[in-house]
Amino acid sequence: MRAKDILGKSGEQAAAEYLEASGLRILDRNWRCADGEIDIVAVERHALVVCEVKSRSGMRYGSPLEAVSRAKRARLRRLAVQWLNAHGVRFDQVRIDVVGLVYEGTGGFTIEHIRGVG
């Protein structure tokens, strides 16, 4: 595995733990279909949360949150619909969240969770 993939994997693990600690119930991880991949699918109260995890080894190329472009958000919305169809379930609310992680050394991350990004 390459360094960036290791960072990504451990970032997703840290994000999942962080979300669970903040009260979200995780339904699915790394769900794939023809259009792409959802990093984390979770539930918070009555809302389905489709969560994108972005990890960075530093701020040299800007914050990880900035890397979630408009096109990426639109794809996440499409993927959310596909996930719902694939599992045959309905939710009152569907939300797109982003978790940004910056590696701080010694295995720790600075985590930022932004709810409802569109």
């Binding site: 914050s63 949150l65 900035e66 979630v68 958000r73 932004i114 990004v117 569109g118």
Partner: protein, 524 residues
């Protein structure tokens, strides 16, 4: 959540409107949204401001930033608001104390490196800010002298965004670079720029009226126009000295007084034609647009930012149209409104801009298209019809507003030599012009007018008629149909100027006859 407000000014024409810049930082993916009718240059501010903030060593808030410019209905253009937006964002992020922003105006474009660049139109903008109760402005160093012309305002000149921040935070020099400095007050500045003597100082290099040898009538006409603000038309063959005369008229005009100087400087500031290192224009402007000029170039216009045209840039000065018949007819006719109203109104969708345009118009024309000297011996081959058609390109209504018409003849050798002893220098004539203007201003005190040319006809006939019997020849011309009733009013106006120049309390018969001669001038 985190909200901060800063203020700047949007200019429409030379009128400033205070704009409130609100910056809001909310949770969300990092983005910057700008609302409130920004144009493209202003939308680009997003990337410019971000680079400027980061390169100034400040932190760019990694949040959703919304910047609102209100009133939202007012179109806002250009890079003018960069500094206000940048400071607003940093204040919303808590990097600048919000209390420091009270009563402060911000003008300036930011470079990507955080440098503060000068913008156009600072003088009218600062004046508008002061009118609305703002007492401090932060501007780029290159704009500081201009901003300081406005009374009752503390001008802070900053070279960079960092310097502006240091000044606001009260930590000069902390962020490095040259600290922001306060300029001295307007009274000191005006005192330095405006010398005591109101007459234009002539240096050996400047042109002088005395150089126009052999054209004593033309020199006299120029003097009358300068004293009364009358418009002038010059007709004559090439080489007779039309252009030479027109170029020398500014040398006999008095210096602008403080109010006029500020007004003229405001217009030139908006147009971006202020010379560097000269914050205040004190000499009457002289504009000589080329005859290919468009209507927008003459009266002002342009899509997007409405710029003043030559007519406004010549405000309180001279607008010289050389080869007037060569100008497009609609361009000449567009001058009729400013000639009448003293201002230009440019209407565009959304906004209407007004620019003052009270200038002395000077038209110069050859008598015919072949431009050879007139008369059978000189070889002019133009038929009378051709001549009439050529001069007919200057429309009647425009020519009707010209009070003094002079025909210049080519000068012979003897006249050149003889006149050497009589030609007066610009300095002498300027003094007479100044005295005549003072006399007129004294007579017109308590009225909105200052020059004889500005007085409306009805008022003129009622309040300031010439001496009894002085109009005898003029009235005879009226009976003969040489002159219209409106022409009579114009003659009286010029007669007053002639009397003012001679120091007479009211126009005599000689003055009226002189004025009639100047009015009739060229017969078409």
């Amino acid at each position: 959540m985190a909200l901060a407000r800063t203020y700047s000014v949007a200019l429409i024409g030379i009128t400033g409107h205070v704009v409130e810049v609100e910056a809001d930082i909310a949770n969300g993916l990092p983005a910057m949204i700008m609302v409130g009718l920004p144009d493209t240059a202003l939308r680009e501010a997003r990337d410019r401001i971000r680079a400027a903030i980061v390169n100034s060593g400040e932190e760019w808030p990694q949040r959703k930033i919304t910047v609102g410019l209100s009133p939202a209905s007012l179109p806002k253009r250009g890079s003018w608001f960069d500094l206000a937006i940048a400071i607003g964002i940093l204040a919303a992020a808590g990097q600048v104390p919000r209390a420091a922003l009270d009563g402060v105006m911000f003008f300036g474009e930011l470079g990507l490196d955080g440098r503060l660049r000068p913008v156009r139109g600072v003088l009218p903008a600062v004046a508008a800010a002061v009118e609305r109760g703002f007492r401090r402005v932060i501007v780029a160093e290159a704009n500081a002298a201009e901003a300081a012309l406005v009374p009752d305002v503390r001008v802070v000149a900053a070279s960079t965004l960092a310097a502006a921040l240091d000044w606001l935070c009260g930590t000069p020099g902390l962020r490095g670079g040259r600290p922001a400095a306060e300029c001295k007050g307007s009274q000191d500045v005006l005192g330095e720029i405006l010398p005591d003597g109101p007459v234009t100082a002539t240096t050996p290099q400047t042109p002088d009226l005395a150089e126009l040898l052999g054209q004593s009538l033309a020199r006299r006409g120029a003097e009358v126009c300068a004293a009364g603000g009358h418009h002038l038309s010059l007709l004559g063959p090439p080489g007779a000295g039309k252009t030479m005369l027109a170029e020398r008229i500014p040398t006999i005009l008095p210096r602008l007084d403080t109010a006029a100087a500020l007004e003229v400087t405001s217009i030139h500031s908006v147009a971006g034609t202020l010379p560097e290192q000269v914050p205040l224009l004190t000499e009457p402007p002289f504009l000589a647009p080329h005859h290919t000029a468009t209507k927008a170039a003459i009266v002002g216009g342009g899509s997007g930012i409405i710029r003043p045209g030559s007519a406004s840039l010549a405000h309180r000065g001279v607008l010289f149209l050389d080869e007037a018949p060569e100008f497009a007819r609609d361009v000449l006719d567009a001058l009729r409104q400013p000639l009448e109203a003293g201002e230009v109104v440019v209407a565009r969708s959304g906004v209407t801009a007004r620019f003052p345009a009270r200038f002395t118009l000077i038209l110069a024309a050859n008598p015919c298209p072949c431009a050879r000297a007139a008369g059978p011996a000189e070889g002019c081959s133009c038929s009378p019809t051709m001549r009439r058609r050529y001069l007919g390109r200057i429309s009647g209504p425009l020519l009707d507003r010209v009070d003094v018409k002079i025909e210049l003849e080519p000068v012979g050798r003897t006249e050149l030599l003889n006149d050497r002893n009589f030609a007066e220098s610009s300095r002498t004539v300027a003094l007479r012009v100044l005295q005549a203007r003072e006399r007129a201003a004294h007579r017109l005190r308590g009225t909105p007018w200052r020059l004889n040319a500005e007085v409306p006809g009805s008022e003129l006939r009622r309040t300031w008629p010439p001496a009894p019997g002085a109009l005898r020849v003029v009235e005879r011309s009226l009976e003969r149909g040489q002159i219209s009733a409106r022409g009579v009013v114009k003659v009286i106006r010029v007669a007053w100027t002639v009397a003012d120049l001679a120091g007479r309390p009211r126009p005599t018969r000689d003055d009226c006859d002189m004025a009639l001669g100047l009015w009739l001038g060229v017969r078409r």
